[in-house]
């Protein structure tokens, strides 16, 4: 199986500012968000824009697509969170997380993540806590629970586990927190990094968590929850090789490969089992986000992924083995 990756094609029209997030959806479309305030949905074969929303005044900083590929949740720099239906193009809910509502203390959201089981979404912010909000159209954005990490460092990224039982959050100081959603409490804290962790990726079986940090490394964590309740062994491997901040990471559906995007303008593919880099591709500028195609790769190939970076272009890459 060849592990070289080639540039397949670019999106037909670039964003007018950096692409800060991309997600390859199960319906084989790609959703991208940009600093220019717009969100676009692309057809993966042609690279054409199939759907777009009018740009917001501020950039979009976070994107989360549900497992069915029907909804995209995104958040702007100031904390306006929107739920966009990818099938009919309507916005099903908006929440102004920056608005001060008399009673409870609120904070503007930063990173958001849809619960794969539906009904709620999680957000991080400056307080270092994770807030669980309702994702139902009628009550969109209403606070359901606050999960406290115990530290007040800025929460840069959060993501639910694919089985919907937990949510992981990474902070500007480097800590990674895993909260159990059944009890709404903190389950484990990992201090494997001493610098900001910008992105997290779960394996499909919810057993592995890969963190991407400004310390130029990715760390693989065993986060299995054993029947006895004991957490997994934690950091099990370090993936080094990038020469600048690692900005984004994703684990392939079959759990064999990881992809990472970096400020060093490269994208690396890693063999998780071998804990080693197997491919490096050069991009034009800092690469802010990367996402695997969520389908098992064709026989003899290693799959495909999409990336977005500083130059505003959404870029598709495919394994060299594919015809």
């Amino acid at each position: 199986m060849s592990l070289a990756f080639l540039h397949a094609h670019d999106g037909a029209e670039p964003h007018s500012d950096a692409v800060w997030g991309v997600s390859w959806t199960p319906t084989d479309t790609v959703v991208s968000i940009s600093a220019d305030g717009s969100i676009k949905q692309w057809d993966s074969i042609s690279g054409q824009v199939s759907r777009a929303r009018a740009p917001h005044t501020l950039g979009l900083v976070s994107l989360s697509v549900d497992p069915s590929g029907k909804h995209a949740l995104y958040n702007t720099l100031e904390g306006l969170t929107c739920l966009w239906d990818l099938e009919d193009g309507e916005v099903k809910g908006t929440h102004e997380s920056y608005a001060r509502t008399g009673g409870e203390s609120t904070e503007p959201s930063w990173s958001v993540s849809l619960n794969p089981k539906g009904g709620t979404y999680a957000s991080t912010g400056g307080s270092g806590n994770v807030t669980i909000h309702s994702a139902e159209p009628g009550s969109f954005g209403e606070r359901r629970a606050t999960l406290t990490s115990g530290r007040s460092k800025f929460g840069l990224y959060c993501k639910h586990s694919p089985d919907g039982s937990r949510v992981a959050m990474s902070s500007e100081a480097g800590q990674i927190y895993i909260f159990d959603l059944a009890s709404n409490s903190l389950q484990t804290t990992y201090s494997s990094h001493a610098m900001a962790v910008r992105s997290l990726a779960w394996s499909e079986d919810s057993n592995l968590l890969l963190s991407a940090s400004e310390d130029k490394r990715l760390i693989l964590h065993d986060v299995r929850v054993s029947p006895s309740g004991k957490p997994g062994s934690g950091a099990v491997a370090t993936l080094s090789g990038h020469s600048s901040w690692v900005l984004s990471t994703d684990i392939s559906l079959d759990g064999r490969l990881a992809v990472s995007a970096s400020a060093d303008k490269t994208i690396k593919v890693w063999d998780i089992g071998a804990r080693a880099a197997v491919s490096t591709v050069q991009d034009n500028g800092e690469v802010w986000s990367v996402s695997w195609r969520p389908k098992p790769p064709a026989h003899g190939t290693a799959g495909a992924f999409v990336s977005g970076g500083e130059d505003g272009v959404v870029r598709w890459w495919r394994s060299a083995g594919a015809g």
């Binding site: 950096a18 501020l58 950039g59 720099l77 500007e172 901040w245």
Partner: protein
């Protein structure tokens, strides 16, 4: 002294006074002091009303829609710039179209302003006293009546609130009340206000100017901090709708300028020549009679930090051979004071288009905010905004987006603080922030790092510094000196800016 324009659009009490009208009748147009109590109070309130165009708190839209008609305010005229050197014509300054009046008119003008200032001050005090009288219990009533605070009428004085954005048709006012519901002596704010009024009144009647600093030191215990005096003076100026200088409170100078090609002729007869080795304090504009600019002036650089300014001064940037001509380096030492802003505004309004006016600030929210103060004006000095906003100021650097190109590692950048974040969000909300600034602010918030000018020092030193310096137009002998990366950066960017400015249609 130069003629001043008159404030218009003050209803009721004051009628418009035509500056060119020479008759002594003007005095009688001011309301008499012998008014019945009730109506005087009403008049006092009226005096403080005015019509300002207003926008929402969240809808800040600088430059503001305060036209000359509304405030009619003008500080000091932008003075003529006289070009020295052969065959240069005198440039007429840009004013609101006043003609030069005869000297007698000038003196009368000043007297009118002084009278008005005095009158406003006295009016405010009278208003207080009448309220005080009105709120006292009837004479003869003794302590049989429980002296609940509620039994007394509150005395309220309204001052302009410069912090809030002007709302529709109402000058934003804040109220000083006595007695206050809050903890602490109610009398103190009033005492501070009246002491300030007293000092200003004295300065006007004696015709001896004072400064905010002087006023503070006259009664440190009462005022507590310099900023109290600062706010009160500016609030009163905004309330009375006259310039601070008209209250005979002069600005003290903070800003510095160095370089070559500018001479300041003061009213006192002194001539301040800007030198490229020793910085000079920027005098308040009311002291400056005229500017004299050399024909070989090529650029103006406004610098945020004093430390950077001193480095550039030591490097004699103003006359450095690596730059396309002589230039001026100005600093306000952070947020600029009025005198510095007036200097930059004067240069911006009068220098030919080919001379770029460039701002060197940190690539963080505060740097950009300082730049916007130079360019668009500040919230607190909104009432004198027209005279202080220097439209031509461009952001030279430092941009966080150019750091990668300069070879600066991301790790060298400093993490932003909560204050940076807050400030950046405020700036992003403002519609007046230009698109390029917005991109940089967004980039800063997203990476959560900021670029301070000192970071240039962290540039990797080239393997053959002498040659690299030579390539950057700097003599090999200087290559080892500190500040060289900054110099290289500036010489490249200023040269580009000058070329672009030269290409623009004059």
């Amino acid at each position: 002294m130069m003629p001043q324009s008159r404030p218009e659009a003050l209803d009721s009490a004051y009628t418009h006074v035509d500056p060119l009208q020479q008759s002594g009748e003007q005095r009688t147009k001011f309301p008499q002091h012998t008014q019945p109590l009730g109506s005087f109070q009403a008049q006092a309130a009226d005096m403080l009303q005015c019509q300002w165009n207003c926008v929402d708190d969240d809808d800040i839209d600088l430059p503001l829609a305060i036209s000359d008609d509304e405030t009619g305010e003008m500080l000091h005229r932008v003075e003529p710039i006289v070009y020295s050197g052969a065959a240069f014509e005198t440039m007429q300054l840009i004013t609101t179209g006043e003609d030069d009046s005869a000297p007698e008119a000038d003196i009368e003008e000043d007297e009118d302003i002084r009278d008005e200032a005095l009158h406003q001050i006295e009016g405010l005090v009278l208003s207080f006293m009448t309220q005080l009288v009105a709120s006292l219990p009837a004479s003869g009533a003794y302590s049989q009546i429980a002296s609940k605070k509620g039994g007394y009428k509150k005395i309220a004085l309204r001052l302009a609130d410069r912090r809030k954005e002007p709302t529709t048709s109402d000058l934003n006012m804040r109220t000083l009340e006595m007695p206050r519901g809050a903890r602490g002596a109610s009398a103190r704010p009033f005492a501070q206000l009246f002491r300030t009024l007293d000092l200003m009144h004295k300065a006007l009647t004696d015709d001896i100017p004072t400064t905010k600093r002087d006023m503070y030191y006259k009664d440190v215990e009462l005022f507590g901090s310099q900023s109290t005096v600062d706010s009160l003076v500016d609030d009163l100026a905004a309330t009375f709708q006259i310039g601070r200088a008209d209250l005979n409170v002069r600005a003290s100078s903070k800003g510095l300028v160095c370089g070559a090609g500018l001479r300041l002729h003061l009213h006192s007869g002194e001539i301040l020549a800007v030198s490229d080795s020793e910085p000079i304090l920027i005098p308040p504009s009311e002291d400056i009679e005229r500017f004299e600019v050399d024909s070989n002036l090529a650029w103006v650089l406004v610098v945020e930090k004093e430390a950077v300014f001193q480095t550039l001064c030591r490097l004699r940037l103003g006359t450095h051979h690596a730059l396309p001509g002589n230039g001026l380096v100005v600093t306000g030492k952070g947020y600029p004071d009025v005198a510095t802003r007036q200097l930059v505004k004067t240069l911006s309004a009068n220098l030919p288009e080919q001379i770029p006016i460039l701002g060197l600030v940190d690539g963080d929210a505060y740097g950009i905010d300082i730049l916007s103060v130079y360019k668009y004006g500040s919230m607190r000095m909104r009432h004198e905004q027209e005279q202080l906003a220097a439209e031509r100021v461009q952001w030279l650097g430092l941009w966080s987006s150019e750091l990668a190109g300069l070879g600066i590692e991301r790790d060298a950048l400093i993490p932003i603080t909560k204050y940076d974040e807050k400030k950046a969000r405020v700036l992003l909300k403002r519609k007046s922030t230009p698109p390029h600034w917005r991109r940089e602010l967004q980039h800063m918030l997203f990476t959560r790092r900021k670029a301070e000018i000192e970071i240039l020092e962290a540039l990797r030193s080239p393997t053959r510094p002498a040659e690299a310096a030579e390539a950057g137009g700097i003599r090999a002998a200087e290559a080892g000196n500190p500040g060289i990366p900054l110099l290289r950066y500036l010489s490249a960017k200023i040269s580009t800016a000058c070329m672009e400015a030269a290409r623009r249609e004059p």
